[in-house]
C-alpha cells in the first residue's frame, strides 16, 4: 500500500498555535494519524505531553475527538469506548495515543490486558524515550547510556523490548514506525485500521528538548536512528515478521551508518565513553540478531511447507 504524499488529506489534524515545543515529534506523528484514519478516529490520550499539547480551554490543539484519561487507563478506557461505539453501530476507529511511560511503564498492565482480550483498537506508543512531560525522567524505554534528570550518570539498563512483548500476545498486527518515515507510518496505520482486533504500533519519536538536539533536526535524527540500525522498522502481520524499508536493506551491518552519527547529535549521549558506545552497539546487534533469527525461522518453515 504505497502512500502518495501529494494525495494525502490536507486537512489540519494538528491545530497551529498549540502548546507543543518547537520541533515536537508528537505533533508530527499526530498529523499522520489524522491523514491515515481521518474522520473515523477517536483518540484516547492518557497523561503525557500529548495531554498538554492540546493547549488551553476553550480551544484544543488536536484536530480529532479526544478523550483524555488518567495515566494508567489508556487501553482500558479505549476498550470501553470501542465497545460502546460498536454497540451503537457507529463506524469508528478508537486509537490510544500514549507516551512511553503510559505504554511501557504505568500503562503496561492495561495494555497487556486489552491485547489479550483482543479489543478492537489501535494502540500507538509515541516513544520519546523518557518522561518528557514531567521534564525528562528515565522510563522503561530510555535507551542504555542516555542522560535524563533521573539518570545523571546515564541509564544503566537497556530499553524494554516493548514491540516484541506486545507481539508475544499474538495479536493480529504489531508494527514499529518512525516519525522520520511518515509514508511508512501512514501505510501501517491504514493497514491496522483494516484489521479487526488489537493493533499495536510503536512510533519512534525523537524529542529535541529531552534528547538535547536542535529542534530543526527532529526528522533527521529519527531517520538516523533507522539508518544506523538503532531503530528497526518492521511489522508482524498475523505473527509473520517482515522488515520494512529502509530497515530491510540494513540486515547487512555494513550497510548501516555507524551509530556514532546518531549519538553525536544528541546532548543526552554526550558523556558516553567508548565502552558505553560499544555496549550500545552490542545491544543494537542483539536486536538485529533476534530479528534475523526470526526471519530465518520463518524462511525454513516456508520451505518445509513447499
Amino acid at each position: 500500500m504505497a502512500v502518495n504524499i501529494r494525495k494525502l488529506p490536507r486537512k489540519k489534524y494538528v491545530m497551529p498555535g498549540n502548546a507543543a515545543c518547537p520541533g515536537c515529534p508528537e505533533t508530527m506523528g499526530f498529523r499522520y494519524v489524522g491523514m491515515a484514519l481521518g474522520e473515523k478516529a477517536v483518540m484516547v490520550i492518557p497523561a503525557g505531553c500529548s495531554s498538554v499539547i492540546q493547549g488551553l480551554w476553550p480551544r484544543q490543539g488536536w484536530g480529532l475527538p479526544v478523550l483524555n484519561i488518567v495515566f494508567a487507563a489508556g487501553a482500558a478506557a479505549a476498550s470501553g469506548l470501542a465497545r460502546a461505539l460498536r454497540r451503537r453501530g457507529i463506524d469508528a476507529q478508537v486509537v490510544v495515543w500514549a507516551g512511553d511511560g503510559g505504554t511501557a511503564d504505568i500503562g503496561l498492565q492495561a495494555l497487556s490486558a486489552a491485547a489479550e482480550r483482543g479489543e478492537d483498537i489501535i494502540y500507538i506508543c509515541v516513544d520519546n524515550e523518557a518522561y518528557m512531560n514531567t521534564g525528562i525522567q528515565r522510563s522503561g524505554l530510555t535507551p542504555y547510556g542516555a542522560w535524563t534528570t533521573t539518570t545523571h550518570q546515564g541509564k544503566k539498563e537497556f530499553k524494554k523490548p516493548l514491540p516484541q512483548i506486545v507481539a508475544a500476545h499474538r495479536i493480529p498486527y504489531v508494527a514499529t514506525a518512525s516519525i522520520g518515515y511518515p509514508w511508512d507510518f501512514i501505510a501501517k496505520l491504514r493497514k491496522a485500521a483494516s484489521i479487526r482486533g488489537f493493533k499495536y504500533i510503536h512510533l519512534h519519536a525523537p524529542c529535541p528538548v529531552g534528547w538535547r538536539f536542535d529542534p530543526g533536526l527532529t526528522a533527521k535524527i529519527a531517520q538516523l536512528a533507522v539508518e544506523t540500525g538503532m531503530w528497526i522498522l518492521y511489522e508482524y502481520e498475523n505473527g509473520k515478521l517482515r522488515l520494512n524499508p529502509p530497515s530491510n536493506r540494513l540486515i547487512d551491518p555494513s550497510k548501516r551508518k555507524p551509530i556514532e552519527e546518531y549519538i553525536k547529535l544528541q546532548g543526552r549521549f554526550r558523556h558516553l565513553k567508548p565502552e558505553d558506545i560499544e555496549r550500545l552497539r552490542q545491544e543494537v546487534e542483539m536486536n538485529w540478531r533476534e530479528i534475523t533469527a526470526m526471519l530465518k525461522l520463518q524462511e525454513l518453515e516456508e520451505r518445509s511447507k513447499t
Binding site: I5, R6, L8, R10, K12, Y13, V14, M15, P16, G17, N18, A19, A20, C21, P22, G23, C24, P25, T27, M28, R31, Q54, G55, L56, W57, P58, R59, Q60, G61, W62, G63, L64, P182, P208, D214, P215, G216, L217, T218, A219, K220
Partner: protein, 108 residues
C-alpha cells in the same frame, strides 16, 4: 471553541481551534524564509511540519510548481522544514530582522 451544554452545566470540553497556546509565532527566534526559485514543490516541508503551519499553494511557484506558504502567526520557527528540504529552498533567518516590521504591521 467550548461546547455549550443545554442543561447549563460548565463542562470540561474544548473544540479544535488554532491558537490553543496563544499566538505561538512569538516563540520564534528564527523564521523559515522561502526561496521560490529553488523550491521544487516536493511537499516535504509540508509533510514534516510539526505545527501544521505550511500550506502548499498549487501552481504559485515561478515555474508553476506548488510552493509552501507559511503561517507566521503560529510558526514556532523550529527549523524542521529547512532541514528536510532536499534543495535548501528554505532558510532560517534571525527573527530580530523582522521585529520592527511586525510591530509596524500590528500597530501602524
Amino acid at each position: 471553541m467550548a461546547l455549550a451544554d443545554p442543561a447549563g452545566h460548565v463542562l470540561p470540553l474544548s473544540l479544535a481551534d488554532k491558537g490553543s497556546a496563544g499566538r505561538t509565532g512569538f516563540w520564534r527566534t528564527q523564521r523559515p524564509v522561502l526561496n521560490p526559485e529553488r523550491c521544487t514543490g516536493c511537499f516535504m516541508c509540508w509533510l514534516y511540519c510539526p505545527e501544521d503551519v505550511i500550506e502548499m499553494k498549487e501552481g504559485a511557484g515561478p515555474r508553476g510548481q506548488a510552493i509552501p506558504v507559511i503561517d507566521y502567526e503560529y510558526c514556532k520557527g523550529c527549523g524542521v522544514c529547512a532541514n528536510v528540504c532536499p534543495v535548501k529552498a528554505l532558510e532560517m533567518v534571525d527573527e530580530e530582522k523582522f521585529l520592527h516590521e511586525e510591530v509596524v504591521q500590528r500597530e501602524g
